[in-house]
């Protein structure tokens, strides 16, 4: 089995506060991996380390085969990243955003041209290509933002609460995009507060107070905790949390 | 009233808990006083002077016409007695006076030695020393020209007196300037930022959706800065008296009253900026570019206003700091009373009232 992410007792401390405490897990190629946890459980810190934005205090981890201590530049070239907050430039047009983000990931102008045509076709945004991103509805922005994050065909894409506040229809269209990317072999690493979305993941981990308390497929987790829904599993685990952000 | 007091208390808590800002707030006057301790040199043109010619003889008139021909000087109507001269100095109408004693030519011809009295307003020490140097060299030139024809050399002794600031202390000039600057910074920028901050964090929404009057919100935000600014005025004065050995010649109480007036001017400006902007960065930028720069440029303490082109001189009249600077100079250095500065005070008061009305009127009781 090919692992795209592999961590071993990965830890991050800020002073005497241990934000992420010895987390160990693997994510397979093409897997949709749900990374859940209550506010302040340490998800963001863990994700920053995996994206090469923050050096761990101890433990080891490789992302796309690169070491998170020494090869952060290589990691950044092989991942895509999208969050609810920092997605696209609102004051640039759809086309300009695609061109810009394609450019920073080193795509040639020809590649950008063909890929952006495909992308606009797929998202049915052809007529909006020259419009400012600010004028698009939130759901469209998020879909566009995801497509831009995988434009350079990264090995793995990190999604930080990508569907927060999006309407239920667009949310599902968004997950269609995720499934498609996963079918193409792109690994998906996603956080969410929607528990129904946790069900769409191949496997999920639930973090509580800096530690991974549970990690399995949704079905196995439900039977393990004798719960009828992921909501209950989450509630069962996170209820005892001592800290939050 | 209890509401208001509680509100003000809360504002003090904000200021007190933000140690970095607090440090800037109180460190700034000290640092600025030290920085501006190195006075700056500027060229002076067309300075108003008077010539009091009690001799009215050939030599005195020849020297006078040489001075009049210089581009540095602009001779005003001559006055004949000391009282008139003193009045002209105090009103700031003249920078220098040259006095030829009676029998100047006679003394020069018979005793080969004569005196000229040069009096300069040294509350602006740079200008004063430059002007006296120019006059001395003109006199020197004249002396050399008559020497050529004579066997025994003539000697004209210029007796220079620096008025108001005999040691030519630069501090005299920059202390009022720093005061204007610091008050401007503290009041305008801090008030604007603290109000805009409430907009940014969303607390303004809650305050608006409360029975508390929006005007009181604004006023109670201004109170702590009025208080802090008065502390700054006090600390600047203490620094100048005990560190720079610069006494306050006039009434300290009057100085504080005038400072309070200027602080209110600045607070109204700060409120106006906060009404018109929605982000802290924007408020800061506007405060710096729109308020700080004109204060430095147009208040007259770094660049003499009389050297500026006429349109800029007109603009300088709109800068409140200019009037405050004149007031502080008059009180601190010249030791003048209210009767000498009522005009400036009136102008400053007018500007303040205008700003206050405009900013309170444009304050919105809703979000948009």
């Amino acid at each position: 089995m090919e692992y795209v992410i592999k961590t071993d007792r990965l830890t991050k401390r800020f002073g005497d506060f241990t934000a992420t405490n010895e987390i160990t897990f693997e994510v397979e190629k093409g897997e949709i991996f749900g990374f859940l946890g209550a506010n302040g459980a340490g998800k963001t810190t863990a994700m920053r380390m995996l994206c090469g934005l923050s050096i761990p205090s101890s433990g080891t981890a490789t992302v796309a085969g690169f070491d998170v201590y020494k090869q952060t530049e290589e990691i950044k070239r092989n991942i895509g990243y999208m969050s609810q907050r920092f997605s696209l430039y609102e004051d640039l047009t759809v086309q300009e955003n695609i061109r810009f983000f394609g450019g920073i990931y080193g795509l040639s102008n020809r590649e950008i041209k063909t890929k952006s045509e495909d992308l606009l076709e797929q998202l049915e945004l052809k007529n909006e290509a020259k419009k400012l991103v600010a004028s698009l509805p939130l759901g469209w922005k998020q879909k566009l933002s995801f497509s831009v994050a995988v434009l350079h065909q990264p090995k793995i894409v990190f999604l930080d609460e990508p569907t927060g506040g999006v309407d239920p229809v667009t949310r599902r269209q968004f997950w269609d995009l995720i499934y498609e990317a996963s079918a193409k072999g792109i690994t998906i690493f996603v956080t969410t507060h929607y528990m129904d979305e946790a069900e769409y993941c191949n496997r999920i981990s639930i973090m509580v107070d800096g530690k991974i308390e549970a990690l399995d497929t949704p079905a196995n987790l439900k039977s393990q905790f004798k719960a009828s829904s992921m909501d209950q599993v989450f509630y069962h685990l996170a209820r005892g949390a001592k800290r939050s952000d | 009233m209890e509401q208001f007091i509680n509100f003000v208390k809360k504002e003090f808590a904000h200021v007190w808990r933000d140690k970095k800002t607090l440090l800037i707030l109180f460190g700034m006057p000290v640092i600025q006083i030290l920085i501006f301790g190195f006075a700056l040199t500027n060229e002076v043109k067309n300075s108003e002077i008077i010539v009091m010619d009690q001799a009215k003889d050939q030599a005195s008139q020849q020297i006078s016409s040489r001075i009049a021909a210089s581009r540095y000087f602009d001779i005003q109507n001559s006055v004949m007695n000391n009282k008139q001269m003193e009045a002209a100095f105090k009103k700031g109408k003249i920078k220098m006076a040259i006095v030829f004693p009676a029998g100047f030519n006679e003394a020069l011809l018979h005793q080969r030695k004569a005196q000229i009295q040069i009096l300069a307003d040294a509350s602006d020490p740079n200008t004063a020393s430059m002007l006296t140097n120019y006059v001395s060299s003109i006199i020197q030139d004249y002396q050399n020209s008559i020497d050529k024809a004579a066997a025994i050399p003539y000697l004209i002794v210029p007796e220079v007196r620096m008025l108001y600031n005999p040691q030519l202390k630069g501090a005299h000039n920059f202390v009022p300037g720093v005061m204007a600057l610091v008050l401007m910074l503290v009041c305008v920028m801090m008030t604007a930022i603290s109000i805009v901050k409430e907009k940014e964090t969303g607390t303004m929404e809650i305050l608006l959706v409360s029975p508390f009057s929006p005007l009181l919100v604004i006023l109670s935000k201004a109170v702590p800065y009025l208080f802090l600014s008065l502390i700054n005025v006090a600390s600047i004065l203490l620094l100048s008296v005990y560190v720079l050995d610069l006494p306050v010649n006039g009434s300290v109480a009057l100085l504080f009253v005038e400072s309070t007036l200027f602080i209110i001017t600045c607070l109204s400006l700060g409120i106006f900026i906060s009404v018109k902007t929605d982000s802290q960065q924007m408020a800061m930028l506007i405060s710096l570019m729109g308020m700080f720069l004109p204060t430095v440029l147009f208040s007259g303490f770094m660049f003499p206003i009389e050297n500026m082109p006429y349109p800029l001189q007109l603009i300088s009249n709109l800068v409140p700091a200019k009037w405050f600077y004149l007031i502080v100079k008059s009180i601190m250095i010249k030791g003048l009373g209210f009767s000498a500065i009522w005009k400036e005070t009136l102008i400053l008061g007018g500007i303040t009232l205008g700003l206050l009305v405009v900013s309170l009127k444009s304050f919105k009781i809703r979000l948009a």
Partner: protein, 306 residues
């Protein structure tokens, strides 16, 4: 002034900017006294604009709205005395402690903590152990509790909560809704907005809102009953393959993922065995098909697609 309704909204309209983007499009609804009413819709649906007009922060372009019989434009001063408001973002002073924040908001509304302590007691005891901690250092859940206390401290007749649970984890969300239920018992009318469909069933009545328009107003139970078709939940070993296969199946009217199942509705008759055979032929295993009652989210999706 007395009125039968706590909130009365008539053809309220708001547009923004030069392009006249319509944020609120002739919205009308009313909220009964003591009711817990939910505005349910995604971000950008116009919820916040409606809240701001009702809390007198924005002027409506057209239409009228009354709170306790007072007009939001003409009687704004009166309204500001009686309502409580918790805006969408965290809006307390981060540099003041829990207690200082609460005391400050109490005085702003001309009251004291002691006077209405009974209203907030339930919630306040949970954060009281940290009362000397600065609000900026609190957890998301605790901030939310403090904000609610601050909005309640003057005993408002109507409480406006704009997306109080956005970005909050499921555990804290659950706790928050339990607090709201207890407040309802104190005769406070509550208007709450949320993008989370699963919270809709916790309201007495809800309005589903999208693109500035109200799509439907009813009790959650009635909405569910109004759902026109029988809904089936279908499961297989691979969700995405399942959905793709179902969408190709001619009798399928609509199909979308819903947690571990796909929710499917059919045109006309539906034969369990025929579908199972088809799905097996598509390479799927562990197939499970069962009828399910629709949820508010199903209803919302239905409305959006029409």
């Amino acid at each position: 002034m007395s009125s039968a309704f706590a909130i009365e909204v008539n053809e309220l309209r708001k547009t923004y900017g030069k392009e006249q983007l319509v944020a609120v499009d002739d919205v009308s609804f009313h909220v009964n006294k003591g009711e817990l009413f939910g505005l349910i819709g995604p971000d950008g649906a116009g919820k916040t604009s409606i809240f701001r007009m009702l809390t007198t922060l924005l002027l409506p372009e057209k239409g009228t709205a009354k709170i306790d019989g007072y007009d939001v434009v003409a009687d704004y001063k009166q309204i500001r005395k009686t309502i409580g408001y918790m805006p969408g973002r965290f809006s307390l002073y981060p540099d003041l402690t829990i207690e200082e924040n609460l005391r400050f908001f109490a005085t702003v509304f001309g009251t004291t903590i002691a006077q209405n302590y009974h209203l907030i007691e339930d919630i306040y005891v949970q954060i009281q152990p940290f009362k000397n901690r600065r609000a900026g250092k609190l957890s998301g859940g605790m901030k939310q509790k403090l904000a609610l206390c601050c909005a309640l401290i003057h005993k408002p007749t109507v409480l406006f909560l704009d997306e109080p649970t956005t970005g909050v984890d499921p555990v804290s969300r659950k706790e928050f809704w339990e607090m709201l239920k207890r407040l309802k018992a104190q005769d406070i009318t509550i208007l709450v907005s949320t993008p989370y469909m699963d919270e809709a069933t916790l309201c007495d009545r809800i309005a589903l809102i999208q693109n500035g328009k109200i799509l439907s107003i009813n009790t959650p139970q009635n909405m569910i009953q109004q759902y026109p078709e029988q809904l089936y939940a279908i499961k297989a070993d691979q969700m995405y393959e399942l959905i793709k296969a179902l969408r190709k199946y001619p009798e399928v009217m609509d199909c979308y993922a819903f947690g571990e199942y796909a929710h499917v509705s059919f045109n006309g008759s539906f034969e369990d065995n025929k579908l199972k055979t088809y799905l097996k032929a598509e390479g799927l295993t562990q197939i499970e098909i069962k009828p399910v009652p629709p949820t508010i989210e199903d209803y919302f999706i239905k409305l959006l697609k029409n």
